[in-house]
Assembly symmetry: C2
Homo-oligomer: 142 residues x 2
């Protein structure tokens, strides 16, 4: 059994703080943090139900619903009944949503990108290596 010393605590603190900072610097867009995230998933992975979307983001369906409702209101996302299963609603990113997401992401990332610019290529490399590990740590269940 490996000996991690302070790694769990350090990792926890680093992630907590960075997450706070990212949320704080989210002022550049009309869409909230989780809304952009939801839209991005629909863009990347195509149409899906609310359940699937919530699962991918690692939150509960009611939590996801709030974001989705706003996105539908703005007509960035369309909702249509599932062809064969009347309980399901298929969520699809609209043309308009497609148009705005890149721009929104661009502006939202200004703060983070500025900070990344201050890093050395080696540090960027370390971050890129760390990313898949962080995603694995963040998986639900397992």
């Amino acid at each position: 059994m490996p000996e991690f010393g302070p790694l769990p605590n350090s990792l926890r603190r680093a992630v907590t703080r960075l997450s706070r900072q990212l949320r704080r610097n989210n002022d550049f867009t009309e869409l909230s943090f989780p809304q952009v995230s939801a839209l991005g998933i629909l863009l990347a992975h195509g149409s899906m139900t609310l359940q699937e979307l919530a699962e991918r983001e690692g939150i509960t369906p009611p939590s996801m619903l709030k974001s989705v409702q706003r996105l539908i209101e703005l007509e960035y996302v369309g909702k249509a009944p599932h062809e064969t299963d009347g309980r399901k609603q298929l969520l699809t990113i609209t043309e308009r949503g497609h148009e705005v997401i890149d721009d929104i992401r661009e502006r939202r990332n200004e703060w983070l990108r500025a900070r990344l610019d201050a890093l050395s290529p080696e540090e960027i490399d370390v971050l890129e290596q760390a990313l898949p590990i962080l995603f694995r740590l963040a998986e639900r269940d397992v």
Copy 2:
């Protein structure tokens, strides 16, 4: 100017999700997430004012105050007037606070540690290299 491609978005998503997971798995203690964090800072860095404590955690004084008030109520932290500056109050971790924090951290980290155990030594190494970078990204101002 380096070309980061999807790094900002990926980093944002990884950090956001892991942070959510960490908060979710906080059921093992009577203290909330930020309360343990504040106590840990007082343990690691000694007595300080509310201002300093808030600054170290990267949040505003009113936000920090809530945690501190609870910690004082539980007698895990003591408050005493500053010797020369009547406006300031020095916060100090008590014997009792000292006693409980390690145990709390131990239990709270169970979930995270189990996941870290599943990583290879190389992956642990990458994480350890990434930590200081994440902390730097999380700094305020700059």
